[in-house]
């Protein structure tokens, strides 16, 4: 039963909705603060660029973000208002690096019609009040008293009902707003009001302008000494103040964002919906405005917000494309553009559609999204885990170990690859043609398995075999010195660094050697109680060639011990517990923090904080990486050290913000790995796997990898076809022809490897692609692409005509095989029992695939089902059909084969306006609706009465805070049958803000456990700004607000791992669970995405 669900974000929102600049973190520091719907990011301006400081989750969808400076304060405060009528004022406490809440509150009214054009929030430039326009006809005031404290909020009646923008004017004795509004004849005007705080009322203000540009949409108040306001229209820009009125015509465009450049307000950057950036200049003689000028600067992503930062660098926040950091140059480039893009920040929003495919056929899901809009439309390939790009491979069975060696200490590149087998050691070397060929190091013993080898100081090489340690010159390759194991003993395990060797023989003997010039010296020997299973002397202190600590893993008592070097004194001992022996230990340092990593034979990894001076181990944590023994090895990528854990589930261990993270490597099984950095294969890894040795480069070390395929047009639907190895998309392109803008719609075919357009089918004028699937029909083995369309005519409210087009891919071309006219928009298509199920306006229609006498095929209507407002989203399972309606929530239909009819079985009688549906299992269906909620409904087939059976019971409710456009079954991570997480079914969703999330259906006991953890976490992790988690996650629409149930907030639960040790302990003890187990269970959840 998929009733107990866990919702977690795999990719955070990237749609930038607001940005502002000010001195937030210190009076001397300049910050850029950006809002990504439910999160804010605080950045610091530095000589090297924007430095991200903090990512702050907000329990609300941000409607207003403003920095302001209260009287007498040395630095700015941050005002945030949320769409659910909460607000808070935040202050940065530099001493503790915490956000402190100065004020907060709830300013929702019980009665009131929410504004159609969005909420407006504004702060008086003289800090006398905060103004909010939340409901039509009302202007809310939160006054400041003379000490800067906020007071009770009150409403003022605002006569204008269709408000487009409100701003405060500068330099007014009394706080004065300018209101841009539309009257009931659709004409636009601006007028001003003074706010009489004592009377709680408006008084007519100094300015008013009637009959503005029909597209007037943005007000820009101009600071003193000029004062007044700029009104941005689609064809004109006007400036007006009490003393001046200036207007200029502009090339028709819709301005979406502006950013003030100069403090005196004489220049502004304007961004339009084609991504063009203009500079608007108020020319003036002293304080007298003489005119307006506009200058085209260049092109950026379509801006939703523009913030001038410093020294000609500007931040462009975008909802439709990647956000950018740009520089305004004094001279134009070859294309006449003054804009230079310095950096890009990935934005997946809006994710309109996506599909989950396994392109590499490795059992690893990838999400391919239709992202962005207009010219910034793109496909994004989102993949979890770290990819290895294989450069070369050779078949080699039975590899027992791998090491790379340089031919001299100072050589930047590796020359040799030493491959060890059970009875021999082979050496591969790069030849002059940059090919890997069999070679020889004369001084090495080739007839035995190598246990370890290493480049040593003084241009020497070290090889350890069962019988001896050999010191070899790397220039002459001749044996210089040899240390032999005492007779009757053989070396079992060994390790070395550039100047030290540590080995263990049977009987628990631990021997420590130091490497001199041409000489190996046995320095110390101790006998331990038990046999030694693994050891490490990787230098993690200051000297890269010498370690003062040794880590040793033991049989029998299952412990790991830290010894000092050279004295081999025991410094610390940690019992690992259980019966599984440690198989690999590693001393390493990430981001200045030293760790001891230790893996067990059953695929678990333990990590400890290591005190380098005392050898003490603390903060033990355990995670499960796989099921087989793990071999640990360090490697470097982009000058940072990471650890590769070779096992049945290869993993890279790395550190971000001083927290250890585990990222899957997209390979099935790796037994050994070593870094191999040769001239021909720079920065590569040599990997031994399943009878094969391969050399490949590794992706950047991060959890999610995103590849962008810019389309230059807006992709709206996507699907993949395995048989033809293609993607098909429905897309639209805005075309500028002379002075008219037109839309053209296409069905395009893309190669699934290169993502190039290989074929295009243009749709008719006014014809939109609404749905696309790849399917086969009964009695026909071909794979087809079916496309549903609608003719969207300007004079029609709802489309009354559409088509279903059936294509086959032949020679890489889309061939139209059949087409069927429909009586409306084909919102959804599904392969259904070898037939085609279409949702056409208010009807569900089933088509058969019929063979005509002449051998051609056609779609023939079989049966249908009426009774929807608009059937927008359809999913099927067996004979069941789940319909998500425009405004009538979810209904369940059944196709009856014998009768050839579709009947309604049950429906949810709530009035949810749906945005996506998915079937979780036979009985439970998942829905997303347009107030950003998720809910689940259950079929009641066992109920006693017809009435009950006909009702889908709402079993889960949750406020996601994101608008979901699509659910798809699938997983971003490689599924391993042995792992517990492998059994948890998951659904992926994509949202307007560019969020990719996962809904995981948990077993009941796990749900109960995590629900308890969540309840404990809510007490410890506070909502920023005092906002409540419970209220944030409560299901909320116009009709009701109820507590979340049967959904868990995975983002909150996984933030457990970010807590300090003491907080974790606190929670573990209040839950009555050992901390190690709690960490492990949460860590496992993080591997769901």
């Amino acid at each position: 039963m998929s009733v107990w669900n866990y919702v977690v974000t795999a990719h955070k929102p990237t749609n930038v909705t607001h940005s502002c600049v000010g001195n937030f973190t210190s009076p001397q520091e300049l910050n850029l603060i950006i809002a990504k719907c439910t999160r804010i990011e605080i950045h610091l301006l530095t000589p090297h660029g924007l430095q991200p400081m903090l990512d702050v989750p907000i329990y609300g969808r941000i409607a207003t973000l403003e920095l302001f400076r209260p009287h007498g304060e040395p630095q700015d405060f941050l005002f945030i208002a949320t769409e659910r009528y909460k607000f808070c004022v935040l202050q940065w406490d530099a001493e503790t690096s915490e956000l402190i809440t100065r004020a907060m509150g709830d300013v929702s009214d019980r009665i009131g019609r929410p504004t159609d054009n969005g909420q407006i929030g504004l702060i008086d430039p003289d800090c006398r009040l905060i103004g909010l326009h939340l409901y039509d006809g009302l202007f809310k005031v939160i006054p400041f008293d003379n000490k800067g404290q906020l007071k009770e909020a009150f409403n003022i009646r605002l006569e204008e009902l269709q408000v487009l923008d409100i701003k405060f004017l500068y330099g007014c004795l009394k706080p004065t707003i300018v209101v841009l509004y539309q009257d009931n004849k659709d004409a636009r005007h601006a007028k001003t009001y003074e706010i009489a705080l004592k009377d709680k009322d408006f008084v007519e203000g100094p300015l008013s302008h009637t009959n503005l540009d029909n597209g007037a949409g943005i007000l820009i108040p101009v600071p003193m000494p000029l004062g007044g306001v700029i009104i941005i229209g689609e064809e004109t820009i006007v400036y007006c103040s009490v003393s001046a009125f200036k207007a200029i015509p502009i090339r028709p465009s819709i301005t979406r964002a502006y950013g003030r450049v100069d403090a005196d307000g004489s220049r502004y950057l304007l961004g339009d919906n084609a991504g063009l950036l203009h500079l608007l200049v108020i020319t003036h003689e002293r304080e007298r405005v003489t005119g307006l000028k506009i200058e085209h600067l260049g092109e950026t992503s379509v801006a939703s917000t523009i913030s001038y930062l410093d020294n000609a660098v500007v931040y462009i926040g975008s909802s439709y494309g990647d956000s950018q950091l740009i520089k305004l140059n004094l001279q134009p480039d070859a294309k006449g553009s003054y804009v230079e893009v310095l950096e890009k920040y990935v934005n997946l929003g809006p994710i309109v559609d996506f599909c989950v495919v396994d392109l590499e056929r490795q059992g690893q899901g990838q999400v391919v999204t239709c992202s962005g809009a207009y010219k910034d439309g793109s496909l994004r390939i989102v993949r979890n885990g770290i990819g290895i790009n294989e450069q070369a491979s050779v078949e080699l069975q039975g590899i027992k170990g791998l090491w790379s060696l340089r031919s001299s200490t100072n050589d930047p590149y590796d020359t040799f690859l030493v491959v060890s087998f059970i009875n021999e050691t082979r050496v591969l070397a790069m030849n002059m043609d940059d090919e890997l060929e069999e070679s020889e190091i004369e001084g090495f013993c080739a007839e035995a398995q190598t246990l370890f080898c290493q480049n040593a100081i003084h241009d020497q090489l070290v090889q350890v075999t069962a019988n001896s340690v050999r010191l070899v010159s790397s220039t002459t390759r001749e044996l210089l010195h040899e240390w032999n194991a005492p007779s009757g003993y053989s070396v079992n395990v060994a390790t070395a660094n550039a100047s030290q060797v540590l080995l263990a023989t049977g009987g628990g003997h631990l021997v420590y050697l130091e490497i001199g010039n041409g000489k190996l010296a046995e320095v110390k020997h101790v006998q331990l109680d038990y046999e030694i299973s693994c050891l490490d002397i990787n230098p993690s202190g200051e000297n890269p060639n010498y370690s003062t600590l040794a880590a040793v893993g033991m049989w029998t008592d299952i412990s790991v011990r830290i010894f000092s070097l050279p004295s081999l004194e025991l410094l610390a001992k940690e019992n690992l517990g259980g019966e599984i022996i440690p198989r690999s230990v590693l001393l390493c340092t990430f981001e200045g923090v030293s760790y001891l990593l230790c893996t067990l034979g059953d695929g678990h990894l333990l990590n400890f904080l290591l005190n380098l001076s005392t050898g003490e181990l603390s903060n033990r944590k355990k995670v499960s990486l796989g099921t087989q023994p793990i071999m640990l090895r360090t490697f470097s990528s982009k000058d940072t050290t990471h650890v590769f854990a070779a096992s049945d589930r290869p993993t890279v261990i790395y550190s971000s913000n001083k927290k250890l993270l585990y990222s899957n490597v997209n390979l099935k099984e790796v037994s050994h790995m070593c870094p191999f950095n040769s001239a021909a294969f720079p920065d590569s890894l040599a990997i031994a796997k399943e009878g094969e040795l391969s050399i490949g480069t590794i992706d950047d070390i991060q959890k999610l990898h995103i590849r962008t395929i810019p389309l230059g047009e807006h992709a709206r639907r996507i699907c993949h076809q395995e048989q033809s190895r293609t993607f098909a998309i429905c897309s639209l392109k805005n075309c500028q022809t002379s002075n008219e803008e037109t839309e053209m719609h296409f069905v395009r075919l893309l190669d699934d490897q290169t993502f190039e357009f290989i074929s295009t089918y243009p749709l008719d004028t006014y014809e939109y692609g609404c749905s696309i699937i790849s399917c086969s029909f009964s009695d026909d083995n071909n794979a087809y692409y079916c496309v549903g369309t609608a003719y969207v005519l300007p004079e029609e409210n709802e489309p009354s005509k559409g088509r279903i087009l059936v294509f086959v891919v032949e020679d890489g071309k889309l061939q139209l095989i059949a087409e069927k006219e429909t009586k409306g928009a084909v919102y959804s298509l599904n392969a259904f029992n070898g037939k085609l199920l279409a949702a056409i306006n208010q009807k569900i229609q089933l088509y058969k695939w019929m063979l005509r006498e002449d051998g051609s095929r056609e779609l023939q209507a079989e049966c249908g089902h009426h009774g929807h407002i608009l059937a927008l989203y359809v999913q099927t399972r067996g004979d069941f059909i789940v319909v998500g309606d425009l405004m009538k929530s979810i209904s369940l239909l059944l196709y009856k084969h014998e009768e050839g009819a579709i009947e309604e079985l049950a429906r949810d009688y709530n009035a949810n306006w749906m945005s996506a549906v998915e079937i979780l299992d036979d009985d439970v269906f998942l829905g997303a609706e347009n107030n950003y909620n998720l809910f689940t409904v259950r079929k009641n087939s066992d109920a006693a009465t017809d009435e009950e059976r006909g009702r889908l019971e709402v079993v889960g409710e949750y406020h996601l805070g994101e608008f979901v456009n699509r659910f798809r079954h699938g997983s971003l991570v490689m599924r391993l049958p042995d792992l517990e997480a492998g059994h948890i079914p998951t659904v992926i969703f994509g949202t307007i803000n560019g969020v990719i999330g996962v809904v995981a259906s948990l077993p009941h006991d796990q749900y109960v456990f995590l629900e308890k953890l969540q309840a404990n976490l809510v007490k410890v992790i506070k909502g920023v700004g005092g906002l409540s988690h419970e209220q944030w996650r409560s299901f909320n629409n116009e009709k009701k607000t109820v507590d979340a149930r049967n959904f868990l907030d995975g983002d909150l639960i996984e933030s457990f791992l970010d807590l300090s040790r003491s907080r974790m302990d606190e929670i573990a003890s209040s839950m009555g669970v050992p901390l190690e187990e709690l960490c492990k269970r949460v860590e496992e959840l993080t591997r769901l995405h």
Binding site: C88, A103, V242, A263, N311, K344, G1026
Partner: protein
């Protein structure tokens, strides 16, 4: 038009001075900030700074204002006039400021 474009404001000349202008196809920025999870007690504001709406509905407030005016019909008229005069002054002041 060069004059319009020059002289960009500079608050700290060091900012961005060492940012290498990468080519436009530059790799997207990958720096990820730490996620903030406050555990301190100052996420709650001082008690007097938990703001709510005034209890009296705007309509009721309007009625009460009206009824008060009714109780003092004549004197209120002169009050009203002076208050209107007061209103005009800021406008003049505003106009002054604009010159």
């Amino acid at each position: 038009m060069g004059s319009l474009l020059g002289d960009w404001p500079s608050y700290d000349p060091h900012n961005f001075s060492q940012l290498r202008p990468a080519d436009p196809s530059a790799q997207p920025s990958k720096l990820t900030p730490a996620t903030y999870h406050p555990t301190h007690n100052r996420t709650l504001p001082p008690p007097n700074q938990v703001i709510s709406n005034e209890a009296r509905n705007i309509l009721l407030r309007h009625f009460y204002q009206k009824s008060e005016e009714k109780f003092r019909p004549k004197r209120a008229a002169s009050d009203h006039l002076t208050s209107e005069h007061n209103c005009k002054q800021p406008r003049a002041a505003y106009a002054d400021g604009a010159h």
